[in-house]
Amino acid sequence: MDKKYSKEQLIGFYETMYRMRRFEEEVFEFYKKGMMPGLAHLYLGEEAIATGVCAALTENDYIGSTHRGHGHLVARGAELGKMMAEILGKEGGYSRGKGGSMHIMALDKGILGANGIVGGEIPIATGAAYTAKYLGTDQIAVSFFGESASNEGTFHESLNMAAAWDLPIVYVIENNLYGISVDIRDVTKTIDIADRAKAYGIPGIIVDGMDVIAVHQAAEEAVKRARSGNGPTLMECKTYRWQGHHVGDPAVYRERRDPNEKASWQERCPVDCFKDKMIEQKKISEKEFKKLEDEIEAQVQTAVKFAIDSPYPDPSEAYTDIFA
């Protein structure tokens, strides 16, 4: 399967996943230490998805993101320091502290914004795809969202239009089984959300969201379809989040159906399993991994320091940027 991947690419996958992982572990630390205002929704466990999908994109493509958006940003190469500072509400943040974790925008990376409204970003990303078609560029858009967001009306309206007009977009569902506490199986009859593609006459595919290679391959195909004018794809990635819905959620609801649910998913950790496999297959050595990890650690620590050192914005900042 993965033989066509160069070592560089494989290293790239790991680098991105590990960077997300470490970045968010530090976010969690900030929360635990009471240094983070508000909350954050961690992407831990889902790293393979943003990594695999974004590796299939060019830098001009657009991304619609969600409340669980740190991973998407990291995958697009957003600056860790500016992300971290934003999460802490500091002047050095992407939005100078106005947005916070749920609203980090990095327009220079094609990120149209994380979004606090579930389903809110789906039509926005669809609009970006319309722009690409309108201007005749070969850009595409990717809209990431959770399985539960697919129960919002905006999901339906967006996919219908994208399908009708063959817009260059890929809808990526990160199906981690839960909304906050609500099990998707209790509020939706179709087990595979990818089935919903049939309602719009577009391809719907199911992907192992714990396997970055599987995600990347599926994404490449969907991206190609979009870029060549053949319209949208609904790509469902099966995954799991390590933590609760947000940093403060003990996630008691997950043992309802299966007490081993979390453990069995964690055995399939996208970061560790990839690493083990690469070592086993002698594609990347332990030493190489170590070096990479150390580099990333340094990046993350630099970001943490940047964020801590960054001052809070001046109160007068509250009154700027209301209008462009």
Binding site: G89, G116, G120, A149, G179, V182, V187, E317
Partner: protein, 324 residues
């Protein structure tokens, strides 16, 4: 009297009303298994079962619309919207449907539905999770709008809301949920449209809503030391509004300050001022004042958020200015 958390007072009101009337039920996101995002319905799923405590998918327009349908056909649904900002996702069902059906049907139908939803800023929840929507809700005829202050008030007013035959928008201040209050052992329903004079005074009238009542009381206590005698009115319900209580008080004090957390523009302060203007104009010794959230989206960083929302300090400054 006993001590209670605000959130538990809410839960008690729901519980007692569900016990009293089989037709009362609740639907909303994460209200069942985990007992609500803000823990306002803990234990009720076990007690009342899945049909009466329905964990819904993330479909705000859908669940409010279903609530309307249930209310039209004999149930008395309580719909929880996890944040009042999401009233905007369901706005058509709230404003074009629930609010207007009794009127459009010439009185054939009634919609006994309560939408319970947390309002307000102060948690670094940023622009999409911190809004106070009472002015928007009050603007559209057909909705009753309730803004309880203490736990006692919340419990009594929620009972009334559930027994009312009209759509009621019930705003719980999210900064109060974890606060302790004293409460009567038995709390009777508190009638709508009857303001509560929580402190008598002679120099200035403060009309306050929700958490601002407590802030105004703090301010009044401090202002007393400066020799300013403040009358504080807990408005309780914005629709219906107790004009008489306000007018009587202002005629006595000659000054009116309205403190409410919704945005200032076309807000509650503007409305109350305009509403009583004809009656109090010739008694006024100073222009009517208002304290509200200024016309900027809610920022994330606490360094920006706290300075813009109403506070005890701001009330004191404003009152002193009005007394000049």
């Amino acid at each position: 009297m006993r001590e209670i958390l605000y959130r538990d007072a809410i839960c008690e009101a729901i519980d007692e009303e569900m016990e009293r009337d089989d037709r009362v039920m609740m639907i909303g996101e994460d209200i069942g298994f985990i007992g609500g995002n803000f823990k306002t319905s803990v234990g009720l799923l076990d007690k009342y079962g899945d049909l009466r405590m329905k964990d819904s998918p993330i479909s705000e327009a859908g669940i409010v619309g279903m609530g309307v349908g249930m209310a039209l056909t004999g149930l008395r649904p309580i719909v929880e919207l996890m944040f009042s900002d999401f009233l905007l996702v369901a706005a058509d069902q709230v404003v074009n449907q629930a609010a207007k059906i009794t009127y459009m049907s010439g009185g054939q139908a009634s919609v006994p539905m309560v939408i319970r939803t947390p309002m307000g800023a102060g948690r670094s929840s940023a622009a999409q999770h911190s809004q106070s929507m009472q002015a928007m809700m009050a603007h559209f005829p057909g909705l009753k709008v309730v803004v309880p202050s203490t736990a006692q008030e919340a419990k009594g007013l929620l009972k009334t809301a559930i027994r009312d035959n009209n759509p009621v928008i019930f705003f719980e201040h999210k900064m109060e949920y974890s606060n302790k209050f004293m409460i009567d052992d038995v709390v009777e329903p508190i009638p709508f449209g009857k303001a509560n004079i929580v402190r008598e005074g002679t120099d200035i009238t403060i009309v306050a809503t929700s958490s601002q009542v407590m802030k105004s009381m703090d301010a009044a206590a401090k202002l007393e030391k400066d020799g300013i005698s403040v009358e504080v009115i807990d408005l309780r319900t914005i629709v219906p509004m107790d004009r008489d209580a306000i007018i009587t008080s202002v005629k006595k004090t000659g000054r009116l300050l309205v403190v409410d957390e919704a945005h200032e523009k076309c807000g509650i302060g503007a409305e109350i001022g305009a509403d009583v203007m004809d009656d109090v104009f010739y008694y006024l010794e100073a222009p009517i004042g208002r304290i509200a959230t200024p016309n900027v989206p809610l920022p994330f960083s606490p360094a920006l958020e706290f300075p813009i929302i109403p506070s005890v300090e701001k009330i004191i400054v404003k009152v002193k200015k009005m007394m000049e």
